[in-house]
Point group: D2
Chain length 428, copies 4
């Protein structure tokens, strides 16, 4: 590893050779080399606490040792690496484990589809199927939704900057207000119903609704369980397919494997990616109610559907769900974060902070423009990696690996508190 370190000790190689589209390396202008659970190490050996967790792709921590062992064994044994959608023992094992550990205990009955190994690809497959099943084009999506960057997913993503990047108009989507979009007092479910039922609303009956139960990129906006239940009922009554994009909020991030479990709803389609492989390896699955599975063979495909290394780690990661230890761990730590953040915003009322989130997907929305970015920058200088979220980057996001220990969590929170304090004097 040493030789690598020497050669890449600065950022110039990226500036010279990589496209201007690169972004996180601008916020964290350092070259990383190694990682372990919630720690990242740079080329100088400096360590950073990770409250970012690969934007939700590293729920089980960096290079989780249990998963690593399985992975290396598989590689060393010349297990299949790449298989398109041929049958492999690794894939069979994942399918069986997923069914036994996740679906069955929750009383869920889904067929598993393997789209290309990215979140956006899972979303695109879900939209295609919903449209095929219903024979209708429109997808209803929510303000501040984020579903991906390929053209189908981008059309249902609310962010104006990202939409503009399409270079073409985006179609077949219509946006309705997410829970609490007009504040606590307006029940946006009524708006959704009105738009659906009024023959003069300009909106045709959608094939599907898609939503994140907690909007990650959109600013850690949480949908109440009651609101989700009403939405689910709205869909059922009108023959609208309900898709939950659980790419960021799923895989335990909010405290249960699926983010919608406590709402008691059963979406027709669920999109999973990010932490499904458990090890940060590209993988995505789309879960379909069996009666929707009217795909023709090969109607949606992709070269890297069969990333078998990911299947190996994904199957192993499911062992975290054989009991409720992780759930309780997330709940406990989530509570710790909640209390800490609430306290923090009360200490610095002039920073107009608002705590948002659920489980280990939380954040502070600052009412002052640019403040979240400043806080995260200071945190980084102090050894903590956090990203911002929200259309105006107004939210500082707390999203450590679920496997973080108390010590790591507290250390990170203390750096955050320090960083907030550092900027607080500017707003007094």
């Amino acid at each position: 590893m040493k030789s690598l370190l020497d050669k890449t000790s600065n950022m110039s190689v990226f500036e010279e050779l990589e496209s201007e589209v690169r972004s996180y390396c601008r916020s964290f202008p350092i070259v990383f080399t190694q990682a372990n659970n919630y720690m990242l190490r740079d080329t100088d050996g400096k360590e950073y606490i990770d409250f970012f967790a690969g934007a939700g792709a590293l729920n089980y921590g960096h290079n989780n040792p249990k998963l690593k062992r399985k992975l290396v064994d598989y590689i060393m044994n010349d297990g299949i690496t790449h298989s398109l959608d041929m049958a492999t023992s690794a894939k069979a094992e994942f399918l069986k484990r997923f069914n036994e550990v996740i679906l069955k205990p929750r009383g869920l009955n889904y067929k598993v589809m393997f789209p290309g190994p990215t979140g956006t690809n899972s979303v695109e497959s879900a939209l295609k199927l919903a449209r095929k099943v219903k024979g209708r084009e429109t997808i209803m999506s929510f303000t501040n939704a984020f579903h991906g960057m390929t053209l189908g997913s981008l059309a249902i993503t609310g962010n104006r900057f990202k939409r503009h990047g399409a270079g073409v108009p985006l179609y077949h989507s219509v946006f309705v207000p997410f829970d609490k979009y007009y504040g606590d007092k307006v029940d946006t479910i009524e708006h959704v119903e009105r738009v659906l039922d009024d023959g003069g609303s300009g909106v045709s009956l959608p094939a599907a609704m898609i939503l994140e139960t907690v909007q990650g990129e959109g600013g850690i906006n949480v949908a109440d369980y009651e609101w989700l239940r009403k939405l689910s009922y709205i869909c059922k009554r009108r023959g609208i397919i309900l898709i939950v994009d659980d790419i960021q909020a799923g895989c335990g991030r909010t405290g249960t494997f699926f983010s919608f479990e406590k709402a008691g709803i059963e979406p027709d389609i669920v999109c999973l990616s990010k932490s499904i492989s458990g090890y940060g390896l590209p993988m995505a699955i789309t879960l379909l109610k069996p009666e929707l599975d009217i795909w023709e063979p090969g109607e949606h495909n992709g070269t890297f559907r069969g990333n078998n290394m990911a299947f190996i780690t994904a199957a192993e990661a499911l062992s975290y769900w054989e009991n409720d230890e992780l759930c309780r761990h997330v709940e406990r730590h989530g509570e710790t974060v909640r209390l800490f953040l609430e306290d923090l915003i009360k200490t610095y009322p002039n920073m107009k902070g608002e705590v948002r989130g659920r489980g280990l997907m939380q954040g502070i929305a600052f009412g002052i423009e640019g403040l979240a970015t400043k806080v995260c920058k200071t945190a980084f200088e102090q050894g903590l990696i956090m990203e911002t979220a929200g259309v105006n980057r107004e939210v500082a996001k707390v999203m450590p690996p679920l496997t973080i220990d108390r010590e790591g969590l507290e250390h990170g929170l203390n750096i955050l508190a320090y960083s907030v304090k550092a900027w607080s004097k500017d707003f007094n």
Copy 2:
């Protein structure tokens, strides 16, 4: 590995739990467990010669030992696995190697963009950028093109069945005839020019043209170098961006690293995926002429852009391009395949075979409906894995790993000959 084998010795798990969209596992109804260079092994230990090579994702063979060594070292050393687009030493190393081994020696000057790790994502990023640079929506694409399954890429894909799967109309694309689409005597370049220059053609000036120099999925259709040069000139003169989708034909498949090298053209944008990681790991890059690199940071992104294991194997795979050994190997083997196939179709004229292709991307187009599928089925039963291509699956595709040795190649070709012969009697 043993326990895995026992548990997955049949296909029922896929039938029960996986979506109907699965396809290759229907052609090859066997569970694979291990692989090595051009050999695949099933749960019963039976071996298969691989003339499929992950649809071009395994140019350096399954589990290439040189790459494997680097990969395992990296994992064991807790190298960064997942980094979004943060700077890592693995990524720096890949960028430098790619520049030094591939770009510089060919006099090419490209910035490297890392989209999500799939071919379709690279194509989507190329289209977005072309549209942004030119401020125009239309992309000109070619008959029988295949560029991917997400909505942007699907719009420029010719296959009617796959397009129909979109569930929505597809936009902003216009199709013109590929080289020899109307037979050898019609120069389709004239059609392209007419459509572009006639103000009454109904077609607006496109932002870009995109093409594969050898169409893989479309039926192993080869564009002559002269035709490519004319097309490149057409684009230059009219300010149209030329995109080469080298996802399947690139990374040495046709005998040079880029498939367009011998044509002497320099596309404005190049899409690479499939074999770029060298090990079958999900990865994609988009190469951009520096003057086109007007992306805003984060304007196109994706969670798995930073699949560092793939960067490690990709950097190592480039060592194959430090001399011309592999090139000559591909040329030699390609010639062997060409002669063998030509001979084969002459032996069985009633099967109306036509040999197509370039390098180790070849095939026989059969003039009899359903024949290619039958031949591939028989080949599979004899221990050879081959897929069909073309809109009517009329082509039996010969696409072994580039690293196949003479023995393996001849063995595979003999099985193919056997399979052709087996069906020949039906057509006499």
Copy 3:
């Protein structure tokens, strides 16, 4: 005329030869032959009071004698009938009169465009120009809007049944709630502003907003003047073009020539058709703020732009606007109608009527499904022609020629009262 009458005394010719798309002749299954001001006469000589007025195309009554005289003189003198957009003396005269009688006294400065002679064509021209000026695609439109049946206008029309008729998805439009869409207590202006200003709303900045100040087809929904002022201000501040579709509500229907005069706003573009010719002849104009007039010659055209007979009657009809007599007449009669209808709904509270409208564009929205249709049917049998409006045909529309006299108005209203009463017993 006699021979015509004999031959067409029944409806069978329409049933046999005309398309199923015909509609009004189903509500009024009688063959009409002659008309005069507010009276229509059928082939048996039976007379009907007209509270329909060509859906607003006959504000000056059927066959207005002053206009008729000018028209016949023009025809007899071999005046130009059809001129495309060549210069004719009839067109010159209209332009000058319109400028002097309508624009100048109101301090308005518009260029006049002559699109094809239908309302939808005026709307299409307005949308094209707005998009050209702003270089943006989206048009913001309102719930229950009706703007026409060609594809561009239909895309901004709210009615689901009519939209569905397009046979293709409709694009580049987004719907926001009209005044009082969510009831009296919700200020929909706030929704419009939120959608425009929130970068996560999924809606891009529109090129234009288009609205009717009183929605005719949509159910006689009235926008308050204050709401219109706020909307106008919203557009100004954000560089959005404001288009008023005054096709039905304009030409004096609400009491002023333009329906927006009392709001004190100056739209950037105004669409006029229906009563602009004054005689029921096809004609349409689009009024443009001079700074928006960046059309290339012929960029929007049409064969019947130059319907000179319509120019002749249109110029003469403007004499009604040289003083305020007609205005006061409409106001007085409008007040009569308002009081009569208010009284009527109070008399029959079980019919859940609600009076809507402004000037001589009024109606009763019934809270009972199908009731408006029944009332209009009975009215027709009693010699009164009224149509329904609203997405569920829930409104019985009172829209006589502006030139109706007190006697005719009262006679019609009495028939309406009779018809309401006739159905009232069913709802007690």
Copy 4:
């Protein structure tokens, strides 16, 4: 009339008050006041021969006296002027006459639909219905087609300048080469078939094909009858609706009432407008095979569908079709024009003229840029009104009223010859 003349003796009123979009008044910068058959008169009493005929809207001449008499009688008798789609005696009379004089004798069986009274509205209605019947979106259209300026019609119009004016991308259309688009030697029917039948062409099965048998605006391009027959057969075999846009070429312009009669085909839908009223009054009809007439009542509508004055003149105009006098007249005169033009281009070979057209829809395409415009300008100065056609305005169009007499025709042709000669010296 005198007072009008005085007031409008110059063009300034148009420059000041009318939009920049005006176009013909720029080519013919004079104010016209009166017209009679093929003569137009300006405000100074100067007369012009009309080889333009309202772009085909005045086939029976300006102010045809037989039609005028009926029209004035109708107006004086207070006949219904405006009726939306209510039943009127004028409409009944037209329907019966059209059936008896046009449809029955030709063995045609069509239902008649009255869209808004413009050609583009007829086309929009045809597209809607075709899409509804087939449940498919795509319309196949031809290079250099012109079908109208509203968004649906514009999408199937080939002209790039006009398409660009849409301000939005245009959808659901695909263009294939018109007859002889690639020269006399290429049978474009084969291209059409290939695109339809090749599952990799990128084109989905269209709901309909639409074409003009002689393209007017597109440059007087004539489709051979044999080509039309093949096309009709292609449509029949594949379940594609065939729409003939006979707006310009119909109503006798090419020598038969419908332009497709001699081809022996029966389109599924026919669009008529321009000369259908016979007097230059706005009117349009869409003819539908009865089995296609699945419209819901009111699914396509429009305020000016019921332009009864047009029905009166339209019914009377049909008397021209009760015998074959007009047909033979057009044929004779067409032959005269053909010979004259052929002679003319032979006399001035350097002007690279090519005679095109059929019946009284002919023209000279000049191979020299800008020449047709110059010739028409000189002709206008000499008292002859002609327009240019073609995407580059390369064709000088000869299109007098069908009712022109020999004297008028020869006078006009002589002016044309003079104008050609005047410019011929520049190209020697």
